[in-house]
C-alpha cells in the first residue's frame, strides 16, 4: 500500500467498530489497496484528547470519539450535545446521515487541521446510579460523573439537584463501588461494555438525548494523498454509515437486553418526569447560547433538517 490510514476509537464491539470495519472494507476495495486501513479500537492509540491532537497534527489519520470532545476545536460542535432534537434513534440516524448535515459538519474545525467525515448516533444517553434515577426529584443530592464542563452537560443535572462530578472514566466504576460518586451519564453501550451492572442495578434512559459520534480525519493526511484518494476516503466514510446505522438499531435494543440479563433494571421515567427533565434542558439552553454565540445558528439549521426527516 502507498499509504497507511490508522483509525482510532475509544471503545470496542460497538457501533464505532462497525463503522470502522465498514470504512476499512469500502476504502480498501475502492482504492484497490493504495490505502491500507488499520483499526485501533479501545484507546490502543491513546486517550481521546491525544488521538484528536494526533489527527490535528497528522500523526493519526482518523479518530472517532464522541462529538463533544471537538467543542474546544470548534464551538459549533456543541449543537450535537443539545437534547430534544431527535424523536428516536432512527430519526437521529437519518438526520445525521443527511449529506447537507455531513457537508456542514465537514466545514467545522477546518482551521484546526480536522475534517469530519462521518457522524452517527452511538445510542441514547443513560444514567446508571446506585441510588436510581426514577423520578425528576430522585437526582437530588446525587453525585453524577459527567463527561464535560459545558452548560449543556452539567446544567440539566444541576437543575434537578444533582452534583456534576469530574472523574476519569476508568476510575468511575471503583469510585461507585466505594461510594465516592453515585453514578454517571453516558451512552447506553458504555454501561454494558464497561459492565456497570456489577456495581449498580438501575439504568435510566435519558429522554431525547443521544451520544453522537463524529469520525474526524486529519486534513494533513487528506492533503497528502491527493484529491482522488481523499474523495475515496470521504465516500467510504459516508457509505459505511449504512452498515453501521442498521446494525445499531438492533444493538441498542440488545444492550438493554444485556443489562437485564445481568440482573439490572431498566427504569423508564414517568411522562411528567421526562418532561421535567426536558424542561430543565430548555431552561439552560439560553445560557448555553449566550456562552456559545455559534450555537443558535447551528441549532436552527439542524432543527430544520431534523424536521424534514421527521416528516418522512
Amino acid at each position: 500500500a502507498d499509504f497507511t490510514l490508522k483509525v482510532s476509537s475509544p471503545t470496542n464491539n460497538d457501533a464505532i467498530l462497525r463503522w470502522m470495519q465498514g470504512f476499512e472494507t469500502r476504502l480498501e476495495a475502492a482504492t484497490d489497496g493504495a490505502i491500507d486501513v488499520q483499526l485501533f479500537p479501545a484507546n490502543q492509540l491513546g486517550q481521546i484528547p491525544a488521538t484528536i491532537e494526533g489527527a490535528a497534527m497528522g500523526t493519526i489519520e482518523v479518530t472517532a470519539p464522541a462529538s463533544s470532545f471537538f467543542v474546544q476545536y470548534d464551538r459549533r460542535f456543541e449543537v450535537l450535545d443539545v437534547p430534544g432534537l431527535f424523536q428516536n434513534l432512527a430519526h437521529a440516524q437519518a438526520t445525521l446521515a443527511d449529506p447537507e448535515v455531513l457537508d456542514r459538519l465537514a466545514s467545522y474545525a477546518q482551521d484546526q487541521g480536522l475534517e469530519t467525515i462521518a457522524a452517527f448516533p452511538h445510542g441514547p444517553l443513560g444514567i446508571v446510579s446506585v441510588r436510581a434515577f426514577d423520578s425528576a426529584t430522585a437526582l437530588q443530592g446525587q453525585r453524577i460523573r459527567v463527561a464535560g464542563p459545558t452548560v449543556l452537560a452539567t446544567g440539566p443535572l444541576s437543575a434537578l439537584g444533582a452534583s456534576p462530578i469530574s472523574l476519569p472514566l476508568g476510575e468511575v466504576l471503583p469510585a461507585m463501588q466505594n461510594g465516592v460518586v453515585d453514578g454517571l451519564i453516558a451512552g447506553l453501550p458504555v454501561f454494558t461494555t464497561g459492565r456497570y451492572y456489577d456495581v449498580a442495578l438501575d439504568l435510566t434512559v435519558v429522554p431525547e438525548s443521544y451520544l453522537i459520534v463524529t469520525a474526524v480525519a486529519s486534513s494533513a493526511f487528506l492533503d497528502t494523498i491527493g484529491a482522488d484518494l481523499a474523495e475515496a476516503v470521504r465516500t467510504a466514510a459516508r457509505g459505511a454509515l449504512e452498515d453501521t446505522n442498521s446494525w445499531n438499531l438492533g444493538a441498542v435494543e440488545a444492550v438493554q437486553g444485556i443489562w437485564e440479563e445481568n440482573g439490572g433494571r431498566l427504569v423508564t421515567l414517568p411522562e411528567a418526569d421526562a418532561q421535567a427533565y426536558l424542561d430543565a434542558v430548555a431552561a439552560v439552553l439560553p445560557e448555553a447560547e449566550a456562552q456559545n454565540p455559534a450555537l443558535a445558528g447551528e441549532l436552527a439549521f439542524l432543527r430544520g433538517v431534523a424536521q424534514r426527516h421527521a416528516a418522512e
Partner: protein, 163 residues
C-alpha cells in the same frame, strides 16, 4: 558521573527553580484536598481540578527534569560501565553527552512545531479550558533545557579531557 560539579551560579538557579516547583506541588496537594472536602461535605466538585492536577504533574515532570540533568541524577543501569578505565570512560561519557544533546535537540525541534501550532490555533483543554500550548510548552522547555545542559556538560567534559 565524572563531570565537573555545576557552577555555584547554576546551582543557585537550580535551587530557586526547584523552590518554585515545590510550591506548585504543595498547591496541587491542597487543590486535591479541597476538592475532596467540597465533594464530601458540600456535594460540589471543581470540574477543572482533575485535569489541572494532571497538567501540573506534567509541568513538574518536564521542568523538574532540567534540574535532574544538571545534577546528573537520571535513572540508568550501570551494568558493565563501572569497570571501564579512565580513557574509555571519558570517551563513553563524551558519546553519551553528544547523543543526549542531539536526540533532545532533535525532539525539541518537533516539540517546537507542535507548540507553535497549538499557539496559532489557540486550542483549549477539555475540562479546565487551559491553553494547550502552555502545557505542551512545558515539554518543549524541558527538552530544550536538558539539551542545553547536555551541551554545557559536553563543553566542560571536553575541557576536562584536554587537561
Amino acid at each position: 558521573m565524572n563531570t565537573a560539579k555545576a557552577s555555584p551560579l547554576v546551582s543557585r538557579l537550580a535551587a530557586g527553580f526547584t523552590l518554585l516547583l515545590s510550591l506548585a506541588l504543595i498547591a496541587m496537594v491542597l487543590l486535591a484536598c479541597v476538592n475532596v472536602a467540597l465533594r464530601y461535605i458540600w456535594q460540589v466538585s471543581l470540574l477543572w481540578a482533575d485535569e489541572t492536577l494532571v497538567f501540573g504533574m506534567i509541568v513538574l515532570a518536564f521542568l523538574g527534569t532540567i534540574t535532574v540533568s544538571i545534577q546528573n541524577r537520571h535513572l540508568r543501569m550501570e551494568l558493565l560501565t563501572r569497570a571501564l578505565s579512565g580513557r574509555s570512560a571519558w570517551a563513553l561519557r563524551l558519546i553519551e553527552l553528544a547523543l543526549t544533546a542531539g536526540v533532545l535537540g532533535f525532539t525539541a525541534w518537533y516539540s517546537l512545531a507542535v507548540t507553535q501550532r497549538l499557539w496559532t490555533r489557540g486550542t483549549l483543554s477539555n475540562m479546565a479550558e487551559v491553553p494547550l500550548w502552555l502545557i505542551n510548552g512545558a515539554v518543549l522547555v524541558g527538552l530544550t533545557g536538558m539539551a542545553l545542559v547536555a551541551l554545557a556538560q559536553l563543553a566542560g567534559h571536553l575541557m576536562q579531557g584536554r587537561k
